[in-house]
């Protein structure tokens, strides 16, 4: 203690270093502070599973690899720095073994640290297996041995004697077993109010109201926490807010956006229909195998009526909402890029595998060949994608939309045009074509006579004609014969021609190789009776069947892992979108297999079923409180000795502010701003009359905010929304001053603070203390303690003005405490 006190006044960073030295003898802290960062910085690039490199046969990212060493022998011999090759290498003691290569020798202090570390026994917590493979399994045989490509087997459920009363489920048994292996114990249950807040945000993305909290606590008193939790869980799963939260998780993975992105960013006015479809699918708990089939091949599934037909067509919007180059040099190239995007997005979303890496060469890290890739290209090139943007300047690739049954009375925003106008447009097109043909004939004649043809027909004229015709086609496609607006959606149908694709050398369309690859799926996955693609079908339906086949090693694991990630903050496989060699290995492989099998056999692919099982586990109930001894053993909480804390995501932050201020409108708005504004270049959105500058201006839930690629509403942009051109299973969390500026200065927070204060006044009357207590209660669902009362009193004595309650409310909404979950 004395040491700490004396260095209070020293520069903090020095202080931290000194302290870390002070505890060097304890355990692995020395390793974490002095050794690991050096290894990561200087060695992992060539010697780690993550980099996919093990030069000289050496891996330095695990204890086992380090001790075992490479071609030259053990890198580290505990207790014996002189015999440890690692020390020799970093000291540049041998001329042919100077590490890191082509760089200056590491500082003497660092080398001394390594010697000291090895001398004292080379404590190394990196004992988790990162897989036995030391090189990437790129051939079929070793690929099939890689854990992720092996079918999950039902693991034996462990049973603990030491902590017998703790586990409530099989999940708990697995968690407990791996904790006990490290001499760790689980944390006690969180307090009921903390649990309720956690459950509410995790399931619906909204905080509990004060009334809901009182009711819950009363229920806990009456019938115990188990019954109260189960009851509340069922209620939340049944609420429509559930789909708005979990649908949004899927929209991240589905790289959902309402514009084409890339160079010519045109809006997709019909994309919102897919968004609503996803939300509804989660609320209806459509089994996930069916959900996959609907998105990949809804057009090919049977429908009992027009409404169901429309729903299934809208589902295929999944394949059409990806980023697309509307200004590509050729139509052919653009179609190839669309298929590539569809392969990339779907294999990453459903299998956490990057098949699209094999477009130009066999995959460098995973057992995916170019043949595998082009087998899938055949499937998507035999389909037609309807992304529906109008031809015009900056957009040479107008696309159609799918016409939905008009009988359904779905919202439509195109204006009706008069029947005469329809006829007029049709005539204009005929005239244009005729005129163009004449001009072309004259030009041809001119060429024959050796005259300049451009007088009659130039490239500019051709382009102008194309734009005009495109514009007419666009207008006509949106209305029926009578000029009544059509109901349209984005999506995919079977193409005009069903055909296999050749392999293109280096992925270039100019260099097709001779043989075609039959349409199919990556060979590394072995199924007992794989679906066969009929000659006259694209194969999308079979793709869905293949993905959800009971033998498939990835789909159920990937989904279970995604669900786990959202409930336990980190995936069992941390790289949720990459289960390949370069992804991380599971922290609990048996648990992952168990959950994947449960999902399919027990829950019949019901996402709600799996969520319910997990949130009712004891593991989920743990307190997030800090425990020093456990923290030292497992600082990243990979073994789940507590619930990890998390910052709320962008939508939750905005929704919680709306909720507390009382402004929130929980109904679903019709369409989205983009749907109501129509087709245009995103650069022109700031000029559209009905669009506010922050692209927000609404009090509906955040899932309904417009998602235009590269042009997000401020709140989404600032609080780490998913990059909507990429598959995102795990968002970043950053902490930057621009976020603070949003709380301090944005119109949105300003308006919410006003309403918040008004509601507090009407609830609590005019007495100051009653007001700030009520505000606190409304924001945090608890009464302020004595110190918090002192802080509030101080604030009001410094700020006695008429606005002070509003400023107090704004400050409460701005606290990190408000946007972090225990």
């Amino acid at each position: 203690m004395k040491l700490r006190r004396t260095i209070f006044f020293v520069f903090p960073v020095l202080l931290i270093t000194d302290l870390s030295l002070a505890v060097e003898s304890t355990d692995t802290a020395f390793f974490e502070s002095k050794i690991r960062p050096v290894l990561v910085e200087n060695c992992y690039k060539c010697h780690s599973v993550e980099s996919g490199k093990s030069k000289g046969g050496l891996l330095l990212d695990t204890q086992a690899g380090t001790l075992q060493g490479g071609d030259n022998g053990p890198a580290v011999v505990p207790g014996k720095p002189d015999e440890s090759l690692l020390v020799a290498a970093i000291s540049h003691a041998q001329p042919d073994l100077e590490m890191p290569p082509k760089k200056a020798r590491l500082p003497d202090g660092v080398i001394a640290d390594f010697k000291r570390w090895i001398e004292s026994g080379a404590a190394d917590p990196r004992t988790e297996s990162t897989g036995s493979l030391s090189h990437a399994p790129t051939d079929l045989e070793s690929g099939r041995k890689f854990w992720a490509f092996q079918k999950p087997q039902p693991p034996p459920v462990p049973k603990s004697d030491k902590n017998a009363p703790w586990p409530k489920s099989d999940t708990d048994q697995f968690i407990l077993a791996s904790l006990e292996k490290k001499d760790l114990t689980p944390s006690p249950d969180a307090a009921p109010a903390v649990l309720l807040r956690r459950l509410h945000f995790d399931l619906t993305g909204l905080p509990p109201s004060q009334e809901e909290q009182s009711a819950f606590l009363k229920r806990v008193d009456e019938s115990g926490i188990d019954a109260a939790l189960a009851e509340r869980t069922d209620q939340l799963l049944a609420s429509k807010s559930f789909g708005e939260r979990w649908g949004r998780h899927w929209l991240d993975v589905a790289r959902f956006a309402e514009s084409s992105g890339k160079e010519s960013n045109f809006t997709f006015p019909e994309a919102w229909r897919y968004r609503d479809y996803v939300i509804d699918a989660f609320n209806r708990d459509i089994p996930f195998d069916q959900f996959i089939a609907e998105q990949l091949a809804g057009d090919l599934l049977p429908a009992k009526d027009d409404a169901e037909r429309a729903r299934l067509l809208i589902a295929t919007g999944y394949l059409a909402i990806g980023p697309i180059s509307l200004n590509a040099m050729s139509k052919e190239q653009s179609l190839a890029d669309v298929a590539d995007e569809q392969i990339n997005a779907s294999t990453q979303a459903f299998m956490a595998t990057t098949v699209a890496c094999a477009r130009c060469h066999d995959h460098k890290f995973d057992p995916v060949s170019m043949e595998d890739y082009y087998a899938m290209v055949g499937i998507f090139r035999s389909s037609k994608t309807y992304y529906g943007t109008a031809v015009g300047p900056d957009n040479q690739l107008g696309g159609d939309l799918i016409h939905l049954p008009d009988s359904l009375d779905l919202p439509v925003f195109y204006k009706a045009i008069k029947p005469e106008k329809v006829a007029e447009l049709k005539q204009e097109k005929i005239d244009l074509i005729e005129k163009e043909n004449e001009a072309r004939k004259k030009a041809e004649q001119a060429v024959k006579e050796g005259k300049d043809p451009s007088e009659f027909f130039s490239l500019q004229m051709a382009i102008a004609g194309l734009w005009r015709k495109g514009a007419i086609d666009g207008q006509l496609s949106l209305v029926g014969e009578e000029g009544n607006p059509n109901t349209m959606c984005m999506g995919v149908t079977e193409g005009e021609e069903i055909k296999n694709s050749p392999v293109y050398e280096r992925g270039e369309l100019a260099t097709p190789l001779e043989s075609e690859v039959p349409r199919g799926f990556p060979e590394v996955v072995q199924l007992s009776d794989p679906p066969e693609i009929p000659d006259d079908e694209s194969g999308r339906l079979q793709y869905a069947e293949w993905l959800t086949h009971p033998d498939h090693p990835l789909t159920a694991r990937v989904l279970a892992n995604r669900v786990w990630k959202h409930l336990f903050r980190t995936g069992i496989v941390r790289t949720t979108d990459n289960f390949g060699f370069n992804g991380e290995r599971p922290s609990h492989p048996d648990l992952l297999d168990h959950l994947a099998l449960q999902l399919v056999t027990e829950h019949k692919w019901s996402v709600k079923g799996l969520i319910r099982e997990l949130v009712l586990s004891r593991s989920y109930r743990q307190s997030s409180d800090f425990r020093e001894s456990a923290f030292l053993k497992d600082p990243e909480n990979r073994l789940l000795w507590r619930m990890s804390k998390r910052r709320l995501d962008a939508e939750e932050i905005r929704d919680a502010i709306l909720f507390v201020s009382g402004d929130i409108n929980l109904t679903r708005p019709v369409a989205s701003i983009i749907g109501r504004t129509g087709d245009r270049n995103a650069a022109l959105l700031p000029f559209a009359k009905n669009i506010p500058a922050d692209l927000d201006g609404s009090v509906h839930r955040s899932v309904y905010l417009p998602v235009v690629r590269d042009r997000l509403p401020d709140v989404l942009e600032l609080f780490d929304f998913a990059e909507s051109s990429l598959v995102t299973g795990d968002r970043e969390t950053t902490n930057v001053p621009m976020q603070a500026l949003y709380f301090m200065n944005s119109d949105f927070v300003e308006e919410r603070s006003t309403s918040f204060a008004q509601r507090v006044k009407s609830d609590a009357g005019s007495e100051r203390e009653a007001q700030f207590k009520a505000a606190f209660q409304r924001c945090f669902n608890r009464r302020p303690d004595s110190e918090e009362i002192v802080l509030a009193t101080e604030f009001f004595s410094n700020e006695p003005g008429p606005d002070s309650l509003k400023r107090y409310c704004q400050a409460l909404l701005s606290t990190a405490t408000f946007r972090n979950l225990d």
């Binding site: 990243e636 969390t733 405490t817």
Partner: protein, 473 residues
């Protein structure tokens, strides 16, 4: 205001340490660093090797300036005006500009840039052998900024910031002034899969697509220069009280949680944000510059000339304040398909004086040696006329760009195109090579500056790029 008390966050740090968890915080952060999710702040990082340039000002000449009218002198082209190009219908179009040699180095610069030629010929390092993959604006523009026209990738500025961090935490580390809102929009200053803190902060409204601009008479998007930087409804005093209250409440939480980087980071963010509110408007306030400096840049000239003068002056103020990478998009299009000479005169007139002033100003302040100034469009233009008209078409096969300061040779021309300026033939430099070279000048090895995304190590130059060592001073 600049010296506003920093008490709450220091108290936070000390309290968290006094409760014995400082070293734990460190251990855990080290572990976090080790995971690939590390590098979530903008603190300064050492380059791979000693840097020649510490910061970059990228003067982006949107539209593709004609190299044969500016920096690539082609006597053969001048002689053969009107002759058919390669036997086709196209006719060679000689340059109407007068080319002279300037400075001690004798660098060729056309009469379009009198200020630059007179004062800085010996500072410029011209590359006359640039080439890029496609002669189409959006793709070439994206490739110039991100290396890729096919995929959404982090921009050059984002990579630079990722590699080096920023020395001023009160300002964004990467700023782009009035970027075009089309041509890929935010992708050109985006961070793609890099953490969002590396993306460029847009200051000033986006420039509108040319077509729309012509139709509407508006050149920029509406709105304040930067969002949420000011709240007209609240005084600084009240804000200070709010921030103390926020910190006090969060401090309570932190004491309970012992170790909670999110909360600790947020307390600091609010302090920083509070100071940014003053620092950013201060930096943006170019009126505070002496009149002589404003005049040097040409502030107060008419229209676009005035706007570009202000942009250049602001760029200097930003790098002076520690911003790592500043991009300035000139408010003039170089896409001269027709009326070549009138349009060239206009675009050069807008840009010449401010650019020359920027170089002079940087030099006078001793900053040019550390600041790499880059002048480039997305491609060049054809040596033949477009159609039978009086303009030039896009040309990606050969064009010119220049750099100055930041460790490049001055008064030097690198590589060359053929006799007509059509194709780079001697020492060709691809965009990937240019990117590798810019990173090299910043002390970064383009092969080692990688980020693991979706199981692959990505870099700005993909699998390409060679550093053009010839141009390094």
């Amino acid at each position: 205001m600049m010296n506003a008390p920093f008490i709450p966050s220091r108290r936070t740090l000390l309290k968290s340490i006094s409760s014995g968890f400082g070293y734990l915080a460190y251990a855990s952060l080290a572990a976090e660093e080790s995971s690939k999710a590390g590098r979530k702040n903008l603190s300064v990082r050492s380059p791979h090797f000693p840097a020649r340039a510490k910061q970059v000002i990228f003067l982006c000449m949107k539209g593709g300036p004609s190299h044969v009218d500016t920096f690539d002198y082609k006597p053969e082209l001048q002689k053969r005006n009107g002759e058919p190009w390669r036997g086709g219908p196209a006719r060679l179009l000689s340059s109407a500009q007068e080319f002279k040699q300037h400075g001690e180095s004798g660098l060729h610069i056309s009469s379009l840039f009198p200020h630059l030629a007179k004062n800085h010929a010996d500072d410029l390092c011209v590359i006359n052998s640039m080439h890029t993959d496609l002669p189409n604006h959006p793709q070439a523009y994206a490739q110039l900024h991100t290396g890729s026209f096919q995929f959404v990738r982090p921009s050059l500025g984002a990579w630079s910031l990722y590699g080096l961090g920023s020395s001023n935490q009160n300002l964004p580390g990467f700023v782009t002034l009035n970027p075009p809102s089309d041509m890929g929009g935010a992708n050109n200053y985006g961070s793609a899969f890099l953490p969002a803190i590396y993306q460029g902060a847009k200051i000033g409204g986006g420039q509108l697509p040319a077509l729309f601009s012509a139709l509407s008479g508006k050149t920029e998007e509406p709105g304040p220069p930067m969002k949420n930087i000011d709240n007209p409804h609240v005084s600084r005093k009240t804000q200070r009280a709010q921030i103390d209250l926020i910190a006090g409440l969060d401090q309570r939480k932190l004491e309970h949680d012992h170790y909670h980087p999110e909360i600790e980071g947020s307390i600091q963010s609010f302090e920083l944000a509070y100071r940014m509110q003053d620092e950013i408007p201060d930096v943006l306030d170019i009126q505070s510059e002496p009149e002589s400096i404003q005049k040097l840049y040409g502030v107060g000239r008419s229209g676009d000339g005035d706007r570009f003068a202000k942009q250049c002056l602001l760029a200097r103020r930003l790098v002076e304040s520690g911003v790592r990478f500043v991009e300035v998009t000139a408010p003039t299009s170089w896409d001269h398909h027709s009326l070549l000479n009138q349009n060239l005169a206009k675009s050069s007139e807008v840009t010449d004086q401010p650019i020359a002033a920027l170089l002079t100003d940087l030099k006078n302040r001793g900053m040019l040696k550390d600041t790499l100034v880059v002048w480039s469009g997305e491609f060049g233009r054809t040596p033949y006329a477009q159609g039978l008209g009086d303009g030039r078409d896009h040309n990606n096969k050969g064009y010119s760009m220049w750099m100055a300061g930041g460790g490049v040779k001055g008064g030097y021309a690198h590589g060359s195109t053929d006799d007509f300026g059509y194709k780079a033939i001697d020492k060709p430099v691809h965009i990937h090579d240019l990117h590798a070279t810019i990173l090299h000048l910043l002390g970064l090895d383009h092969e080692r500056l990688t980020y693991n995304y979706a199981g692959r190590e990505f870099r700005l130059t993909d699998v390409y790029g060679n550093v053009v060592t010839d141009i390094v001073a």
